[in-house]
Symmetry: D2
Subunit: 350 residues, 4 copies
Amino acid sequence: MKSAACLAFWGIDDASTLTALGLHALQHRGQEAAGIVSFDGRQFYTEKRMGLVGDHYTDPALLAKLPGTMAIGHTRYSTTGEVALRNVQPLFAELEAGGIAIAHNGNFTNGLTLRRQIIATGAICQSTSDTEVVLHLIARSRHSSTTDRFIDAIRQMEGGYAMVALTRTKLIAARDPVGIRPLVMGELDGKPIFCSETCALDIIGAKYIRDVENGEVIICEVQPDGSITIEERKTARNVPERPCLFEYVYFARPDSVVSGRSVYKARKNAGINLAKEAPVEADVVVPVPDGGTPAAIGFAQQSGIPFELGIIRNHYVGRTFIEPTQQIRAFGVRLKHSANRAEIAGKRWC
Amino acid sequence: MKSAACLAFWGIDDASTLTALGLHALQHRGQEAAGIVSFDGRQFYTEKRMGLVGDHYTDPALLAKLPGTMAIGHTRYSTTGEVALRNVQPLFAELEAGGIAIAHNGNFTNGLTLRRQIIATGAICQSTSDTEVVLHLIARSRHSSTTDRFIDAIRQMEGGYAMVALTRTKLIAARDPVGIRPLVMGELDGKPIFCSETCALDIIGAKYIRDVENGEVIICEVQPDGSITIEERKTARNVPERPCLFEYVYFARPDSVVSGRSVYKARKNAGINLAKEAPVEADVVVPVPDGGTPAAIGFAQQSGIPFELGIIRNHYVGRTFIEPTQQIRAFGVRLKHSANRAEIAGKRWC
Amino acid sequence: MKSAACLAFWGIDDASTLTALGLHALQHRGQEAAGIVSFDGRQFYTEKRMGLVGDHYTDPALLAKLPGTMAIGHTRYSTTGEVALRNVQPLFAELEAGGIAIAHNGNFTNGLTLRRQIIATGAICQSTSDTEVVLHLIARSRHSSTTDRFIDAIRQMEGGYAMVALTRTKLIAARDPVGIRPLVMGELDGKPIFCSETCALDIIGAKYIRDVENGEVIICEVQPDGSITIEERKTARNVPERPCLFEYVYFARPDSVVSGRSVYKARKNAGINLAKEAPVEADVVVPVPDGGTPAAIGFAQQSGIPFELGIIRNHYVGRTFIEPTQQIRAFGVRLKHSANRAEIAGKRWC
Amino acid sequence: MKSAACLAFWGIDDASTLTALGLHALQHRGQEAAGIVSFDGRQFYTEKRMGLVGDHYTDPALLAKLPGTMAIGHTRYSTTGEVALRNVQPLFAELEAGGIAIAHNGNFTNGLTLRRQIIATGAICQSTSDTEVVLHLIARSRHSSTTDRFIDAIRQMEGGYAMVALTRTKLIAARDPVGIRPLVMGELDGKPIFCSETCALDIIGAKYIRDVENGEVIICEVQPDGSITIEERKTARNVPERPCLFEYVYFARPDSVVSGRSVYKARKNAGINLAKEAPVEADVVVPVPDGGTPAAIGFAQQSGIPFELGIIRNHYVGRTFIEPTQQIRAFGVRLKHSANRAEIAGKRWC
């Protein structure tokens, strides 16, 4: 199980600065590395850095290396495998029809199998990311248009994904048939934006339009007269959406709305239901901040037991759960939370 | 008004690593810079860095440059004046009797006057920090023992301070006559520790002993047989303690106990009292995280209005209020908080 | 016209440290970037850095990321095109039979044509380096052994090249049919070494064995019993060698022996011949250091005019000619040479 | 024995950029660290960096932190003692009459004695540099003008020094009574410049005026009408100049003129004299580059034995002799020189 953020801006000046701000709002989805690809009408630019968005993409000199009005970005979260810049997305390839960059949130269940097949027929893989397979399938597709090649490629992929792609004239967004990972469409200054969660729209004052549907591909294309056309395609017959439970309990930010449901309300309802199903005798309800706070509020409201901050979080470390190694996790936990002794000493709590 | 952290470990292996952990727990008191001075029985070592403790003092190579069983540290917070490494504490001086390092939390009201007097009589000031005046007064004192020189110096200082000092054989802690800034004494493995707030004891599993009293100087000295003597001196007649109000409402961490009072409870009581004194009709009580959360909990409990997280904080930026420039503050605020629309849309809130 | 260095060590502990030393000796061939790939019996490791070898590969932490007894390296020099880490060699690819890394000194005249053909048939190019074409041709070859695939690939390449390749069991060195770029074979502790110039052998105390011949491929392979077999193949019928003139007048170090001729002697002979063909009346012969010094010595010896250092070089800047931009070149020149006024004032010189 | 460079510009826009260029030309005198202090009419700015001038002071962002039309600089070379930024010059102090910065090339033989006396009377030393003593003596002088205080201070110093100082209105240059270290005065755009060697004048196109004499202090002061007055003072009765021999054989650049003598000619004459005093039978004269080259040219011209470059220097390392540790020296030597085998094999050489 993993998460990550992808994000795309289109037709807006300083697209890479806006992308950096959006990635900052999505930082909770992946803290290991971040990358941005931009296009300025002539050429694609790629910058990738290990570490937090705010550590690097606040530098005007770095953003100046990413000119143009179109950009896509990614923050990386890794469970296994090699930590290396070449695995940091967006991944880029020069196709016959021009360059394409893709950023992917999710896991392909058949990525390794396809990778082996592709290598066996003479392809070169330069990353160990399963996302690279998509690029190869696009390159090898017998379709002629980039859109058809892209759809041809993702139809061969199995598993969960939300994905954005950038070509010289198109911005493409896609979600897997059951909608495991979130992806929303917004609008800024009349131009389309795609991002993993609504909080990335809020940070830059963009308007939420709708979720990309499960099994849907949305293709935005600039026309010779400068107007933008938006085409909606389906890659799968209508099946019910089955979003990943962990989005609600862990990955997403509480102020995001995922698949039409408030993450905060979903967490609070979990606490309310827990109080109904498993009532306890206690003096105080103490959340493990920050993930557990909404559920604790719900539990306290339902049970009538006072809600108190019995555990304090040090705000100068990142999230523990998604650090790559057990050792760092263990160290992080020690540094991150401390008991608010005055509040919990002598109390029965739950 | 400003804050900062000071911290001292003594007689404990890897004193600088423990100091770094303690400074990390005190990071909220000053984020601009951090410094550590250690002593290994032969020589003093100084390292200072701009930025957060966790950005630098997690590097084993840096900690290896700070060997020894004695160390003091400081995190810097600046309101005005020059941001430069030479102003970062602890400050160090070679006296005739050997080196001394000092770290100071607070402001001297007569610092500038004394500085001018000292310079007029041939002294050289190499920082613009008012703390340097203390070093000069120690150097110029006609007393012979370092303890007497230190007390002689701080008796000439006016204003609020909590201070720790390290010499070749002594660890000294002092608080101003009315106790404006906090300073507590703890114990780890039978050895004395001093730090600005109790949360720095908690992070390393040290035991809280007592507050350094207002107007008190505590001198710990290692004896030839290795034992440690602790001497308690008073620099002022007993006057009532008058701790800075801002410790309770802003500077201190909620899990700290300042002058015997829980910061969390003090903040929560402020909310309870506000609800009594100024009741309002509202659907929801929303805290501005994280400083305002305890007060909002108090208000909600007293008023019966539900407490909800209507504003979400991005955990990947530092505290806004204490950044040095208005421009950075303004930018920081935009990046830091976002509305939890699902929770506050259509609500009356306060 | 461009140059660069490639270098390969095999079967020797700390192969990457030796490679770094060799690249340092070859630094004059390319100062823009340097890369090393190592193999430790299980896995390949790649590190690339912009800038000088000595700026990065002297760091034990970096060398520790390149474990193993086999390594190849490269220093990059660019005339045109994108300066980016993804273009820095050695380039690496996972083939069906395992990984392969290649480092290339030279230019392919049909690189762009082949690149277009390969992309048109579904390949993805991730660099803009013409060297990547060789990897694709190896991947697509219908031969089964890596050696045959490598030879199949380079037979399709036109232009000048010296190249080394590293697989899990083989170290391969190749030179183009007319031997435009130099490549020599040496021996250290009984193990084969290949490098662009003999000065890289000298720095580590290795023994010169012979030049790789024009149109030759040498394949070193470790056998199950640990012994090393060396196979010599020809990719072209015997044609006369035509080494690049610029190796003698500019690229190579004066202490190197290129195609059996001392570079120093070649330069000095140029000066001797110039003095014979175009004698002048002058008081002093002044070299433009350091490239012009051997020729000036030759001219002075032949003409009998005294040789003096009338121009002094500042040793804290790199070579001007091969910096990538005109602006940097212009700036570099100003910083690099200064007149030795006492020696040239009032003199007739040439 | 040690060397270092000091340099001062005055009344010229972008004084710090010119100072950086001059320090670059003087880099051979000290490679460990470099510092610049500038003054912009209101405030002094200090920047110090470990490493080469060209590694740091080519960064426009760093130079922008050093505004103003007056600046002094220093490159540091250390034989013993602590390598730390606080010891890097120029040193700066706030005196009653305003700030003063000083940069010093040389060694005080009574520095330690004076340092102890000063500390015994209540002064604080914040560096371990003997140059700091001068600042204390200036601060403590009973004279009223800065010029008199400066002269009062350096009269108490023993040993060799060339020194420059910068105050809010004055630029002061001084040389010790016997002129052990060099210091020259130049002119750029009608404004005075002081630097250790003439090569720093040449790099920026400044004109050489004269040497600062042994035992002389030159005080340049800006007047209220903007004009510059130049005052010449003597700190010692006229004694013969005794410049350090090592300036001619090692420290200075060959294109510099030290105390009226060309360094290049001095070195060449040493070779000529050696050939006369100790003639040998040899096939070839080979210099150890670059320090030994002028002497080898002299020896070859005198003896008639051909001069050849039998040893080649790798230009990508700094000078060996002045690296601070034996280990680095040993490593450096191995990396720096290599035999030009083709030229020396089978030869008798000296």
